[in-house]
């Protein structure tokens, strides 16, 4: 039975890291080992570093000097010049080269494990470390934000009080918030704040009217959307995956949430469903931009998992005639 191993990466660009995470899914069918990404080098079976950067080159040297138990992989445009025990993953990042390198890394790691060297430390079939989060955790890894608490309490009433003692009551069922003295931007800041900085308590539904009697109800969707986009930074929120297929269960009110042309396109695509890589490929936009949008949709509970597999880009017959007609209509109307 194939082992599940973890890969730690260092000094990779964000887009390479996201691409790599997608490619790791290709190892799921591997007979030797399937790979997952980890942010913790101690639990990793292999350490991959971008050895073309000065910092990465120095880090690799350090790892070699320390005689790390993990398999070392250099991501580089140079094929040689590395110590014998370092595997080289040629630049640019391609699945055709990554998969064989990981297979070799898996074989090396498992054979050294069988020799009794710290067996199982990196095998995640064992119980996870208490503070270990799945690698799909992105910007929020280690930092739980107020908006995540709200997402986890969809039908509840939550009272959040900032460090200045200013309360905001969030009625999640009706997607409203109540405040006496915070302006919209402060609400967005509060939503994006780490929970450690905010006092959070649940309020019974029957106490809501009393709690908010002097407050005015305001729409929560727009601040939630803005805060989610602001903290996303191209990293998926907890519980979301780069490879899972998603679709929208309703159309976000983009007129209210900001008229971003990319968001309109992503909404139209997400209505049919697919995974993040598919959307990025189809629209030829950075994965990070799609991730930000997906995070925002999830925060508003507009996202649901899709069981049907994602259609491959370009699978649908293209209708160039219609596309050119639409483009002329847009040009004529100035949209």
């Amino acid at each position: 039975m194939p082992q599940r191993l973890r890969l730690f990466t260092s000094y990779l660009s964000r887009s390479n890291e996201l691409t790599l995470k997608v490619f790791l899914e290709l190892t799921k069918a591997d007979e030797v080992a399937s790979w997952e990404h980890t942010n913790n080098p101690e639990t990793a079976a292999a350490l991959l570093v971008d050895a073309d950067s000065e910092e990465g080159r120095l880090q690799l040297k350090g790892w070699v000097r320390e005689n790390k138990r993990q398999v070392l992989i250099a991501f580089s445009g140079r094929a040689d010049g590395f110590p014998e025990n370092v595997l080289v993953l040629p630049r640019p990042l391609r699945s055709a080269e990554l998969v064989p390198v990981l297979r070799r890394a898996g074989e090396q790691f498992l054979s050294s494990s069988q020799e009794g060297k710290e067996r199982g430390l990196a095998q995640i079939s064992q119980p996870s470390l208490p503070d270990e989060k799945p690698d799909i955790v992105g910007a929020s890894a280690g930092v739980r934000r107020v908006l995540e608490v709200l997402y986890a309490n969809q039908h509840k009433v939550i009272k959040a009080t900032d460090r200045l003692g200013r309360p905001v009551v969030f009625d999640m069922e009706h997607r409203r918030y109540y405040t006496a003295n915070l302006v919209r931007m402060e609400i967005e800041d509060l939503l994006a704040s780490p929970v450690e900085n905010i006092q959070i308590e649940k309020v019974n539904h029957d106490q809501l009217a009393k709690t908010v009697q002097n407050f005015k109800a305001q729409d929560l969707d727009a601040p939630l959307w803005t805060a989610a986009l602001a903290i996303s930074a191209g990293q998926l929120f907890d519980g979301l995956s780069l490879t899972e297929s998603y679709r929208l269960n309703r159309w976000p009110d983009l007129k209210k949430l900001g008229q971003d042309p990319l968001h309109l396109k992503l909404t139209a695509l997400l209505r049919r469903g697919g995974n993040i890589g598919y959307f990025a490929d189809h629209l030829k936009v950075p994965v990070e931009d799609v991730v930000d949008f997906i995070n925002a949709c999830r925060t508003l509970s507009y996202l649901e998992s899709q069981e049907k597999p994602t259609p491959a880009p370009g699978q649908k017959p293209s209708n160039t005639g219609k596309r050119s007609l639409f483009s002329r209509i847009r040009s004529r109307l100035g949209i």
């Binding site: 269960n249 309703r250 909404t267 139209a268 219609k322 007609l325 639409f326 209509i329 004529r332």
Partner: protein, 175 residues
Amino acid sequence: MKQIKFIFTGPPGAGKTTAIATISEFPPVSTDVFSTDGLAKVKEKTTVAMDFGQITLDNGQKIGLYGTPGQKRFKFMWEILVQGGLGLIVLVDNRRPEPLKDLEMYLDNFADFINETDAVIGVTCSDIKDTPSIDDYQEFLQKRGQVFPTFAIDARNKDDVLFLLNALLTCLELS
């Protein structure tokens, strides 16, 4: 040859004629008559056959903007008008007693056309009556298993009408 066109539908008074007028290159040709039934309280005239507007593309191609008569008794006209249609713009008047039922009726009656093309929904007069909210419309669609662009619009506002058309075009391009 069938003319390429966008179809505007919705109950009487929802703003179909007005929306067409905001983007057509000439004032819409309307087949309005004076209302004689209960509708007369809401609007003086109502469309009995269709509204017709037009835009001309840079290659000379004409795109029709057709408004259907709103009343269900003119349903026979709807099937004729949708032929050659690129997509459907449903306008719903939020002041009416049961706007969600209105929407349901139009979505059901144009179901075949929507399946072949796509649809967007513009909710008018929500500044006068704010319920149902856009969220209520979305929830209603969600229960039907449908996801359509749905926005509050003012049919007199060109930007609002273009926003709807832009959403429709994007759906058509990416579906």
